[in-house]
């Protein structure tokens, strides 16, 4: 997409046990509203914030993973605005002295080459509360506020406007999400744990900010819609207005926001309750784990995987570890079955890879590798194993799925040729497709245990042998 310029601001919740400035637990998923709040995160007068060391450590891990520069000191600031999700009337964030500056994220660009997306900065801030509107956002007459989320630590990662398409934006977010998981600072299962604001413009025209994108699929959708909207304005000779729009997830569209608050209206000033924070020494002491790009490369070299399989299997640390556990002496077979079959089956069931026993999956791979079952039976066995509590060996035994000896298949071929004279005649009359029908019948008789590649050849041989020549 030529001429498209995109920059992102990505907010991620850090997976700490407590909030950023108070010891309220962040594990409120199963609890009712306003059950994880205290005077600090409610902003009651006279309270003082106390910084969570783990949140800072986590943020520094991210800064280091993305090659940022970490200044000796950083500082918190107050961002002033009035909104019911913000109990204090301001948000504690970082402004002119953020935790980290510069750095970059490497993604696969649209041209297929590695592309460096530069980062402007990374800073720490507190999450506001959550607003609920009963009966749908448009009709509710009042807002309901839950402060459980108020004060949960966030990092905001700001990129330079280096992205050129919605696809690149999605890839950046996916890569970011994977890296955060590898760094063990982020829980993707938490609702709303990753939220994105996107700046998008067509070169030479005004820029629009889209707020409120709460999933990484949403990013691609929102940007695609917005680019189409801007292009159609330009085509009609209408100027794109510089504005803030909201993403409407259900409709996949963006709509203009009613309020216009300018950056200087936030009246940022240094947080008087928190003196500067020394971070450089801590950053220097951090040792990073193996990150997605390095693991991807290792999978290609060590296991001989295709670039695609290596990319898929390093998509999150749990999956990568699962693959390494089951790789065994045939990693390429394991990669194929994990990436091409297992993931699809799990996706269909909405289950994580962590719910699959590696020992059972290895047993399935052993059955496939030894040729005891066909690929087709392999899928059937996998489904039964996933849905029940049975060992693959037991499934094969119970359903008699072991590959049948030659005799049985030969017998089935002979029977089918005798039972379906019309299809046989069609085939012999030159309608090659008829052989697929006959092969299907043999499969049916042998309950799918005949090797399909082998079967085609043997069926053709049999039809050539004993038929009346035409």
């Amino acid at each position: 997409m030529s001429g498209v310029v995109i920059g992102l601001e990505i907010h991620c919740q850090l997976d700490t046990r407590t909030k950023l400035f108070c010891p309220c637990s962040t594990d409120y998923r199963d609890d009712g509203p306003n059950t994880h709040v205290c005077p600090v995160c409610l902003g009651l007068p006279g309270t003082m914030p106390a910084v969570n060391r783990t949140a800072v450590e986590y943020a520094l891990r991210v800064a280091k993973a993305f090659h940022c520069e970490v200044p000796v000191e950083c500082e918190f600031s107050r961002k002033n605005y009035f909104y019911p999700d913000l109990p204090k009337g301001y948000q504690i964030t970082q402004y002119d002295r953020p935790l980290a500056l510069g750095g970059y994220i490497e993604i696969e660009g649209d041209g297929g080459l590695e592309k460096r997306v530069r980062l402007t900065r990374i800073h720490i801030e507190e999450d506001p509360g959550r607003l609920v509107h009963k009966g749908g956002g448009d009709r509710a007459r009042y807002s309901l506020v839950d402060y459980n989320r108020s004060g949960v630590p966030l990092i905001e990662i700001v990129t330079d406007p280096d992205l050129s398409s919605p696809k690149e934006a999605r890839r950046l977010i996916e890569h970011l999400r994977a890296t955060l998981e590898y760094l063990d600072v982020y829980d993707p299962e938490k609702e709303g744990s990753l939220r994105v604001d996107a700046n998008v413009s067509i070169a030479g025209h005004e820029r629009v900010e889209i707020k409120n994108i709460s999933s990484y699929r949403g990013v691609e959708k929102a940007l695609t819609f917005e680019i189409t909207r801007q292009r159609s304005l330009i085509r009609r000779g209408v100027a794109v207005e510089r504005e803030t729009r909201h993403f409407v997830e259900e409709r996949g569209t963006t709509r203009a926001s009613r309020t216009k608050v300018e950056e200087h209206d936030y009246r940022y000033f240094p947080e008087p309750d928190l003196p500067p924070l020394r971070v450089a020494d801590r950053a220097a002491a951090i040792e990073l784990p193996e990150l997605p790009a390095a693991r991807r490369e290792r999978f290609r070299v060590q296991y001989g995987l295709s670039p695609n399989h290596a990319r898929t299997l390093t998509g999150n640390p749990g999956l990568a570890e699962f693959f390494e556990t089951v790789a065994g002496d045939d990693p390429v077979l394991a990669a194929t079955w994990v990436a091409d079959t297992l993931l699809g089956e799990l996706n269909y069931r909405g289950r994580p890879v962590g719910s699959v026993g590696p020992a059972r999956f290895s047993a399935l791979l052993a059955l496939l590798k030894s040729g005891r079952i066909t690929d087709r039976s392999g899928v059937e066995v996998l489904r039964i194993v996933l849905d029940g509590d049975e060992h693959p060996d037991a499934v094969v035994e119970r359903l008699g799925l072991a590959v049948t000896g030659d005799d049985t298949v030969s017998a089935a071929i002979a029977e089918v040729i005798a039972e379906f004279p019309q299809a046989v005649a069609d085939y012999r009359a030159g309608r090659g497709n008829a052989i697929n029908y006959l092969a299907g019948q043999v499969m049916k008789k042998t309950r799918g245990q005949a090797d399909p590649r082998e079967l085609g050849r043997r069926l053709a041989d049999a039809l050539a042998e004993d038929g009346p020549c035409t």
Binding site: R17, N34, T35, L42, A50, V56, F82, Y142, P276, L277
Partner: protein, 89 residues
Amino acid sequence: MVDEGEVRRIAGLADIQIPEDEMPAFTVQFNRILDYFEVLDTLGEAGAGERALHTVMRDDEPRPSLAREAVLANAPADEDGFIKAPRVM
């Protein structure tokens, strides 16, 4: 110097309604406060600019939060455990 237009804008941002007839008085007071800060500015940066202290961080150990009844007791209105607020969007 701040004029009435600016006072009106800031009042809007703060969600405060100032009656038009009180606007001149507010503008005078606003400017008086800003004048006071100008006096403070003449004291220079000594002490204020050099923030010798550093933030000491705490461990990531959860402690009990408030009981919900106590939280909601401070709210002007509530519903199903939520605090009820005027609709903003």
